[in-house]
Symmetry: C2
Subunit: 328 residues, 2 copies
């Protein structure tokens, strides 16, 4: 049953039905009532497929996350979702962790007009590949971004955040600070690495030999295994800085398994400030990212860009903040 059927039954034109449905044009109250009556009676619902083609928009926002099993990303997505829904958009959510293959990227969903815009939380490397097309494609980088690139972004200053975190450990008297990093394809990974080295350098320290490891992912188990690897080399650091809370929480478990106690033997510092931080024992000291705000800002920026594609959009850097708790 289409709009034609409704128009026929109500004795009006399809245009009038359309006006009633979208209640934007002036329609005589009686006419409106009559049409609404037929619509209710028939249980008619506008077919968005037709509307979308006609208006050339899908009202869908493509959101690409590396892994929404990670509470950090989950919280950002919730931020995006809130803004999107308030503006009448919905989320086309893609978990990029499983990998889609080189020939077929999720950006195709944008090119194919399946989405009106996209928010990408994926590694900057992928993004750089695509930034050429940036003028045509409507998207925002979130968390992973190139400050010098052409793509509008929102994120934090990862280098400084890591610097602050490690400086704190140093200030607390720690001298052998291990570093649990993730995939170096991630820009945040490179930047936090840099911040870590900077802070050590300023303090006249160097990374302990074998104390810098790279994990293939951000699960708790990756953190646990990373610590096991470090300890297996014989190294006994007095602090660990992890680029993710999930990694840090896994690391704490790994340290416990090895009979080491946190923070007396080893301080542990995480990154993100997920809810879980205050649920583990000891509570996790971490660098907070404003996750919800990150998502909201990304969505607002994107919507802005969708509505006014030509306006220049500034990149936005939000503040990080150290949360001192029991683990360091």
């Amino acid at each position: 049953m289409s709009i034609i059927e409704i128009a026929r039954r109500a004795g009006v034109s399809t245009a009038t039905v359309s006006r009633v449905v979208n209640n934007n044009y002036s329609v005589r109250p009686e006419t409106r009532k009559k049409v609404e009556g037929v619509i209710a009676e028939m249980g008619y619902r506008a077919n968005f497929l037709g509307r979308n083609l006609r208006t050339a928009q899908s009202r869908l926002l493509l959101t690409m996350v590396p892994d929404f099993g990670n509470p950090f990303y989950a919280e950002i997505v919730r931020g995006i979702d809130g803004v999107a829904r308030a503006e009448g958009y919905h989320l086309l959510l893609c978990d990029t962790s499983s990998g889609v293959g080189a020939d077929r990227t999720y950006f195709d969903l944008l090119r194919n007009r399946m989405a009106d815009g996209a928010i990408c939380l994926d590694p900057a490397t992928i993004q750089q590949e695509l930034s050429q097309e940036t003028g045509e494609l409507c998207w925002i980088a979130c968390c992973e971004f190139d400050p010098a690139g052409a793509v509008p972004f929102v994120g934090i200053d990862n280098t400084r955040a890591a610097f602050d975190a490690v400086s704190y450990l140093v200030q607390r008297g720690r001298r052998s600070i291990a570093f649990l990093n993730s995939d170096p394809r991630f820009l945040y990974s490179q930047q936090r690495h840099e911040g870590y080295l900077n802070a050590l350098h300023v303090a006249g320290l160097t990374p302990p030999a074998g104390g810098m490891v790279t994990t293939p992912g951000l699960t708790y188990d990756h953190g646990r295994e990373a610590i096991a690897d470090i300890l297996a080399t014989g190294l006994r650091p007095d602090a660990v800085f992890a680029v993710s809370d999930t990694l840090a929480i896994g690391a704490m478990q790994g340290l416990r398994n090895a009979g080491l106690s946190v923070p007396s033997d080893v301080s542990v510092m995480g990154f993100d400030n997920i809810q879980l931080c205050t649920m583990v024992q000891p509570e996790l000291t971490t660098v907070a990212q404003p996750m919800h705000q990150l998502g909201e800002t990304a969505a607002k920026l994107l919507l802005q860009r969708i509505r006014n594609p030509d306006a220049a959009i500034e990149g936005i850097v939000l503040d990080h903040k150290l949360h001192i708790r029991g683990s360091a």
Copy 2:
């Protein structure tokens, strides 16, 4: 740039271009090559809005979750996503926690043909409201379902699972077993409540006065607060059964805060078996749900139903399993 432009440049009809793009009909190799050349040269991408209208499908699967900040739901969604993508579908994800208002349900996205089908993880109450329309609407209930209803479902036997969990606590000598439940609108909440009572009954026990609480959500903090409430009544249970691991983990933290130790003072039993269970101290004993499989099965069922709407589909009950660890 549309298919017409490509057809013109390649000197063929739009039908031929369409055939090339969908490479389903026989097209002469030279013709194909020529068309593909133009497509590549022009960077043409089919507009899915047009295709969707014509084929009357969106290739989108609506997924409604109460809260994908909860790792339990996140894992299910990943299961759904994997199957969906393998079949050329994508996820239209809606977080229902924020509430959409009575007049406008997410099912409308289905009625409006924005999605080809839906998987609903939302409370059964909402679902029952809608099950009348079930013949017309194409959707699957996941986790939350009415075994006697008309809606195809996949889930576990919550009553038995809770029964098994509590029976285990009893068998370990626990006599005063508190129950941390969530919103009773959830069917699982009612069923696990029933299983809890059954197990106590069989053991000749009764719920300790003030030992059954209901939380407004499933965050860690809800668990922590629930325990605080119980302890505030003066009750000192020797075990706690929570309907969610997140609740249980929060409860453990609450017990610690109150100076109680797990499991010597109080045993704690969770539900779901999220990854985090082995990262807390002590590790959490819990009833495992096959989360990934739950999601995969739901997606397969839905796809099946989309392709063959008339075939009867059986409800599927998957197995639960007790995981004994340190907390109980």
